[in-house]
């Protein structure tokens, strides 16, 4: 069992407990016993995955409890493994489908969640280590969920010549401050060279001179 799986097992079991809180107390014990048994059977080698939980809840729990449980599940910050399964099925084929799957995962969740990668590796028959290398070697993919504020600094040559380097350094400093809700990205060219040095803060374009004020504003300082 890999590390991720082991970690995941603990996590999904606790999540399972929390989900059961959605069910009236009178029937909770019945659900717990039955579902856990089915879950253990499903996960033959002992590693219960999030996908298993969702699957079992979907199959065995009657409405209206099912809706409640699944809703609670999606609100727990866990990754909806049904969605992951759907995404994997959307791209048939072997290895050549992997980049498209990773893009779709990131579009869905904002990053490539480790638990989703585990499922991809099982379904597509590729090593998890290989997926990890893909995710980390291509710049497009994130391994952590993006923070509240998205800052994209143009790191193109045109912007660099016009002082983009200083803006980038400043932003790096601000993003590394304690509790700063900033995910910083470098772009090769934003396509607005006459605005250089350019950066995009939460979808809005700013030139370097306006950036300072804006960034202080979103940080509330």
């Amino acid at each position: 069992m890999t590390n991720t799986q082991a970690e995941w097992q603990g996590k999904s079991e606790s999540m399972f407990e929390r989900m059961l809180q959605e069910v009236p107390e009178a029937v909770r014990d019945v659900f717990r016993g039955n579902l856990m048994a089915i879950l253990k059977e499903k996960a033959k080698d002992g590693s219960i995955l999030e996908g298993h939980v969702v699957e079992v809840v979907n199959e065995k729990v009657p409405e209206p409890f099912k809706g409640n449980i699944l809703k609670a599940f999606s609100l727990m910050g866990g990754v909806d493994m049904n969605k992951v399964g759907e995404i994997i099925e959307r791209f048939p084929g072997g290895q050549e489908s992997l980049l498209s799957i990773l893009h779709a995962l990131q579009d869905q969740f904002g990053y490539c969640p480790p638990e989703a990668l585990v499922l991809v590796s099982q379904k597509k028959g590729v090593f998890l280590s290989m997926l990890y290398r893909l995710v980390t070697s291509y710049q497009a993919f994130r391994t952590e969920p993006p923070k509240k504020n998205m800052v994209t600094v143009c790191n193109g040559t045109g912007c660099h010549v016009k002082g983009g380097g200083a803006i980038l350094k400043e932003m790096e400093k601000r993003a590394s401050e304690n509790g700063a809700q900033i995910t910083l990205e470098k772009a090769r060219c934003l396509g607005c060279c006459d605005f250089s040095p350019a950066l995009i803060i939460n979808g809005q374009l700013y030139s370097g001179s306006e950036a300072q004020a804006k960034i202080s504003e979103i940080l509330g300082k």
Binding site: Q95, S100, G156, G191, C193, D194
Partner: protein, 572 residues
């Protein structure tokens, strides 16, 4: 409806003409990435809203980019019988005023950029569309005709002539200006070998960087044996400069598609891929939409135009890696593997995607194909210089007054490109240095500005034509900082396969860092030279081979900026 013969194409051409020069009004908004960044989306919505509110009946559409990136958002008005009027830098606050002026037939004088009396096309001698009929009013005659402006007068628009005019979302408009005629021609009249001969006669060379003759590449793939063959269009464009290829994809996607289908017919492939940069979401969306439209008309898919030739096309979004511009790394990325180059030979033309014969062409190369088919290779070879035929899209960025992209015939002096289109250094400052061809090109001093833009001259000067980027640096630029910037860039983008590139770049970064901090010595400089030589000798692909070129060229042309910062031994 499916297009089966040339007559059907004519029918659609007519429909497209009606859209391009309608009886009622047509208002266009330049909406490529450059336009959207400056608020074209809001201007577009506002125009639609105001037109409805003020009861102006108009076809409000998005078009691509005409190259005047500094004047975005651009709005154009086409009214029957009147010249096409271009407004630049239109803020969303003034849309209401603009629509009011359009309604009353007046001009908003301070926003007007130019007028266009007729539409020219590289395919026809005369005008394709005559906008202006009869005598111009006095007000209109004060507005400059676009062909009198330096910016348009000095361009040779062969592949970008549609950009900014047609809507990238309407296939009819592309067909109206001669689109898919080349495809109809080859399917009805030419055998694949004849197409390849025509391309060879044009002496077209790859626009991605290396400048390999396209005809020779196609021939090798045609002759190669394999169960299947592939055409791959390289739209990776990882250069950290203005995305001129992105602009082309966003402005005229059908041109690229037509080029790919013709390439497929010529080499005997039935499947094609367009690989686009991961950030080019708008381009991807537009090209996917264009593929759907072409499929609907039977110009793509099974049995194209009832000729028996089938071709399918897919768009693949890349993962964001500069190395994917290298053709074998791109093939790896398409196969879902790591973006690292493969050893050559075998060349992709023999053994490429999924082990099958494959041609990988830059999208700008493919954009030239329809024109070569229609007007002949001989005609094409007359444009540009003897060894570098045709045109090149050039993107000007950095310290120029007007960053923009233009299409010029090869052989134009770099000095004129900067002065005519970029209007010189920003803020009137002197141009100190320039770099052509993207990050791998050498940084050249101002005295080299007399060089002409072609493969040979730039190569001789240790620079390259590359993808056509032209970065301008003014007197305030710190050249050592530039060398460090490019070294950091390559260190970021090295795939790590070859030790010399991976470790060499790390060392280069450190050495340049020490020099910048004032801890550099003469030995450091000779070490850089030796290391650069080792990297050039032992790296597998062009990235590693040329990664030290910017640093070396700075050392060669701007020695005072480095040597002046070395550590000086104190006299005893």
């Amino acid at each position: 409806m499916k297009i089966n013969k040339a007559d059907d194409l004519k029918k659609i051409k007519k429909e497209g003409m009606k859209l391009l020069s309608p009886a009622a009004l047509r208002i266009t908004v330049g909406a490529a990435t450059c336009g959207f960044a400056k608020g074209a989306g809001k201007v577009f919505e506002a125009l639609k809203y105001e037109a409805k509110k003020q009861k102006v009946k108009a076809d409000v559409v998005v078009v691509g980019c005409n190259g005047l990136c500094y004047a975005e958002p651009i709005v154009e008005v086409i009214r029957s019988g009147k010249p096409r009027i271009t407004y630049g830098n239109v803020p969303v606050e003034r849309v209401s005023e603009l629509v009011k002026a359009i309604k009353t037939g007046k001009l908003v004088k301070d926003l007007v950029l130019m007028r266009r009396d007729e539409e020219k096309s590289p395919l026809e001698k005369g005008a394709v569309i005559k906008y202006s009929k009869g005598k111009l009013s006095r007000e209109l005659s004060t507005v400059k005709e676009y062909r009198k402006l330096d910016f348009f007068k000095n361009q040779t628009k062969l592949i970008s002539s549609n950009a900014g005019t047609i809507s990238p979302e309407r296939i009819e408009e592309y067909i109206a200006l001669g689109g898919y005629a080349a495809l109809a021609k080859i399917l009805s009249a030419l055998i694949p070998e004849q197409v390849i001969d025509e391309v060879s006669a044009s002496r077209l060379r790859g626009r991605g960087g290396a400048g390999f003759p396209t005809g020779a590449k196609w021939k090798a793939c045609r002759l190669a044996e394999g169960d299947r063959k592939y055409v791959v269009c390289n739209g990776s464009e990882g250069d950290p400069e203005i995305g001129m290829h992105r602009s082309l994809l966003e402005s005229d996607p059908h041109l690229i598609i037509e080029g790919i289908i013709i390439a497929g017919y010529a080499v005997g492939a039935h499947e094609g891929y367009i690989y686009v940069n991961d950030r080019y979401l708008l381009a991807k969306e537009r090209i996917e939409n264009a593929i759907k439209q072409a499929e609907k008309l039977g110009l793509l898919g099974k049995n194209i135009m009832k000729s028996g030739f089938s071709f399918s096309l897919q768009v693949k979004r890349g993962g964001g890696a500069y190395i994917c511009g290298e053709e074998t790394a791109l093939l790896n990325a398409l196969e879902g593997s790591f973006a690292e180059p493969r050893p050559r030979p075998p060349f992709p033309a023999q053994k490429g995607l999924f082990g099958m014969p494959t041609i990988v062409n830059n999208l700008e190369t493919l954009a030239n194909i329809p024109l070569i088919v229609l007007k002949g290779g001989k005609w094409f070879s007359g444009v540009g210089t003897k060894l570098s035929t045709g045109t090149k899209i050039v993107a000007l960025s950095g310290n120029v007054t007007h960053p923009c992209w233009v299409e010029v015939s090869l052989g134009m002096p770099i000095k004129s490109i900067i002065s005519l289109f970029g209007k010189g250094g920003a803020g009137g400052k002197k141009v100190k240095a320039f770099q052509a061809g993207g990050p791998s090109g050498g940084i050249l001093p101002a005295k080299a500005l007399n060089l002409k833009l072609d493969y040979e001259q730039l190569c001789k000067a240790d620079s390259l034509l590359g993808s056509g980027g032209l970065l301008i640096m003014d007197e305030n630029t710190d050249m050592l900082d530039m060398a460090k910037f490019f070294t950091d860039f390559f260190a970021d983008e090295s795939c790590g396969k070859c030790t010399s590139c991976r470790e060499g770049l790390k060392q280069l970064q450190q050495i340049l860092g020490s020099v910048m901090e004032g801890r550099g010595t003469k030995e450091h400089l000779s070490l850089i030279k030796r290391m650069a030589a080792a990297m050039a000798d032992t790296s597998a692909c062009a990235l590693g081979k040329t990664a030290a070129v910017p640093t070396l060229s700075v050392m060669k042309h701007f020695p005072q900026e480095i040597e002046g910062r070395l550590m000086v031994k104190k006299r005893a």
